[in-house]
């Protein structure tokens, strides 16, 4: 039939193009420069759009877009907030300060803010980020329509095909390599397979990654620690070097991938029951890093996906294993596409679809100098030190809260701190006051 013949011809030419222009260069780690041209055009378009929006919007709203939240917070410490000097007496109105702080937290709190996508200062021509901006001009809307067509009808099929090819190559390649006996050839081949397939997967997201300080790249026998924004982090880090993953055994497609890649090189997968036993986990990880030939372990100590504006508490379990820690900071540029996975709002498939219909994923990866635990420092302090280093490098704010807070309750120690503060105020000079009475 003519129709199917034509479709077949189109498909085969298209596939050869894809093979030649994208797959082969990925295998050799070479870039043809097509994505750079795309990014340049994109940046120019977005700049033009920003200028048009700023021209069209009245002056007052532009000034106030710098504020981070929706309420004006009075960040003064408790002493000032209670409108008194130290050692003043208790007054009935002291309760106002606490209730005001409490209501501020109800309207907007630091932690929940971090589990929704970052809001952009200027619109990037994606409808999903358009909550603040109004209709400006016909030209802008036409560009937006053009953008929709390009993203959904041209980029999306391309990206999905690439992702498909990438993952199937990964599964097949690692299974094949897994048949070989253990040797240096096998590890070299498995590295090649991993790198190629991850590069293909990153191209399938139109990812542009800048690596900084490559001299600090994690070495074998170390532990690599990074802030967590989405499952894509794994692919982004693996394009520049191979890591051993740590995680739970899962079912479905993920399970197939997990079983395949563990054949080629030793990743550490735990059963769900084993994850509860912390000693077992620590033991296995220690064994892994003791073997100098094995790849560095990749761990995300936050334990959950955060929206890439801040770094939350690092769980100290990863820092008790010992060994050298290689911190890595990952910062995405939200202007081109939002990489944050809000697991309560989207499942994996809709998340991937959203990512594949964004403009691109642009991010910076900074490798930081290795750190080890010092004398007299316990795991929690070490974790905080590493967290600060990552936050400073990536330009993220630091929060002491536990990312798992959205699932559990907070410790009482924080509340006691506030209570202590307040008691010092009213009773600090209490003895003097009762005497003068």
């Amino acid at each position: 039939m003519e129709g199917t013949e034509l479709a077949g011809k189109i498909l085969s030419t298209w596939l050869t193009l894809v093979l030649g222009l994208i797959l082969l260069p990925s295998a050799f780690g070479v870039s043809l420069g097509i994505s750079e041209i795309y990014m340049k055009i994109l940046v120019k378009t977005l700049e033009w759009a920003t200028i048009r929006i700023e021209k069209g919007v009245p002056k007052e709203s532009v000034k106030n877009s710098a504020s981070v939240g929706i309420i004006q917070r009075d960040e003064s410490p408790m002493e000032k907030g209670l409108s008194g000097l130290r050692g003043r007496d208790f007054e009935l109105s002291d309760v106002f300060y606490f209730s005001k702080k409490g209501l501020e937290a109800i309207v907007e709190d630091e932690v929940t803010q971090r589990f929704s996508s970052e809001e952009l200062v200027s619109w990037n021509l994606l409808t999903r980020t358009n909550i603040n901006f109004q209709y400006i001009s016909l030209r802008l809307t036409m560009v937006w329509v053009l953008g929709v067509i390009v993203r959904y009808c041209v980029l999306l099929p391309l990206r999905v095909t690439l992702a498909f090819i990438g993952i199937s190559l990964l599964v097949m390649g690692t299974t094949l390599v897994g048949q070989l006996p253990d040797s240096s050839l096998k590890s070299w081949l498995s590295e090649l397979v991993h790198l190629t397939c991850c590069r293909i997967c990153v191209r399938s997201l139109s990812g542009t990654i800048h690596y900084h300080n490559k001299q600090y790249r994690p070495q074998k026998g170390g532990i690599c620690v990074a802030n967590h924004t989405s499952p894509i982090d794994v692919f982004i880090l693996t394009t520049d070097g191979c890591y051993a993953m740590v995680g739970q055994v899962q079912g479905g497609l993920m399970g197939i991938i997990q079983r395949a890649i563990v054949k080629a090189c030793p990743h550490v997968w735990f059963e769900r029951s084993e994850m509860k036993d912390r000693h077992l986990v620590t033991k296995r990880l220690k064994e892994h890093i003791a073997d100098r030939k094995k790849l560095p372990i990749l761990i995300f100590p936050e334990g959950t996906c955060i929206n890439n504006t801040s770094v939350m508490m690092f769980k100290k379990g990863s820092f008790e294993i010992g060994g050298t820690i290689h911190p890595v900071a990952i910062k995405y540029n939200p202007q081109f596409g939002d990489a944050f996975w809000n697991s309560s709002k989207y499942n994996m498939v809709s998340y991937l679809l959203r990512v594949m219909t964004s403009w691109a994923i642009v991010c910076d990866v900074w490798y930081l100098p290795p750190m080890t635990r010092e004398e007299g420092e316990d795991a929690a302090q070490f974790a905080n030190r590493v967290k600060s280093a990552i936050a400073v490098q990536g330009g993220l704010t630091e929060l002491p809260w536990d990312g798992g807070l959205k699932r559990g309750k907070v410790k009482d120690a924080f509340r006691e701190e506030q209570q202590k503060n307040y008691s010092n105020m009213i009773v600090g000079n209490g003895s003097l006051n009762s005497e003068s009475n």
């Binding site: 007054e91 999905v160 209570q419």
Partner: protein, 232 residues
């Protein structure tokens, strides 16, 4: 896949709520999104657990009392209108002349008196209209934790009640409470000012129409993709 729909039609009884609480449409929309975000399991109402999940509220010494103020009379759920009514107490007080307001209409929720009433019921657990010494002690205990001895707390409570109590019944009624605050001029503290109105603007009609068309484009893209995959 939804993007956040900024349409104000999501909120039930939006007009009457706006008049009652005095929030602008934009603020109300933001609060509605906040309500939805806090509402885990998408029940449509908030339970105590949902509010206790907020870290900064859980470490607030008066956190439990503040949560209680959302659940009067032992109710276990708070829906959006009630949620907003409590928050409305903390809007900045309108600087209008009291004489210009229509005396037949109910006092606005963020009037000074209503703010003080909110603070009063943080103390007055049994809602009998008076703060007894016992209730005062309880609140003090919440605010200081284990840092202060029982005797010191009792003397502070005793002194405070004596200062404020005018009719000598050993408890502080609401009027005495209000008079005490009048003298201190601290009712102004109960304000959480929002910058909401400055940021949010609703999309134009044209864009709203285009957005509904966009949903069809999404579908088209997905169909094209599946067609490719099948042909592969």
């Amino acid at each position: 896949m939804g993007s956040r729909s900024s349409h104000a039609a999501l909120i039930p009884d939006e007009d009457s709520l706006r008049r009652e609480t005095g929030f602008s449409q934009a603020s109300l929309l933001r609060l509605y999104h906040r309500f939805r975000a806090l509402d885990t399991n998408k029940k449509g109402y908030l339970s105590r657990m949902d509010l206790q999940q907020i870290g900064a509220l859980a470490v607030n010494p008066l956190g439990d009392r503040i949560i209680d103020s959302f659940f009067p009379d032992g109710s276990l759920q708070v829906d959006f209108p009630d949620f907003v009514r409590v928050l409305a107490h903390f809007r900045p007080a309108d600087d209008e002349d009291a004489g210009l307001r229509d005396p037949r209409e109910p006092e606005p929720l963020n009037s000074r008196m209503n703010k003080l009433r909110f603070a009063f019921q943080l103390y007055d657990l049994d809602r009998d209209g008076k703060i007894s010494r016992h209730e005062m002690l309880q609140v003090l205990r919440l605010m200081v934790g284990v840092q202060v001895t029982e005797e010191q707390l009792e003397s502070i409570a005793e002194r405070t009640v004596q200062e404020a109590d005018e009719d000598g019944d050993g408890a502080v009624s609401f009027l005495e409470f209000a008079k005490e605050e009048e003298e201190n001029g601290s009712g102004r503290q109960l304000v959480v000012s929002t910058t909401v109105c400055l940021k949010t603007q609703l999309p134009g009609r044209f864009l709203v129409m285009v957005i509904s068309v966009w949903n069809y484009w999404k579908l088209l893209g997905i169909i094209t993709t599946t067609a490719f995959i099948i042909l592969l």
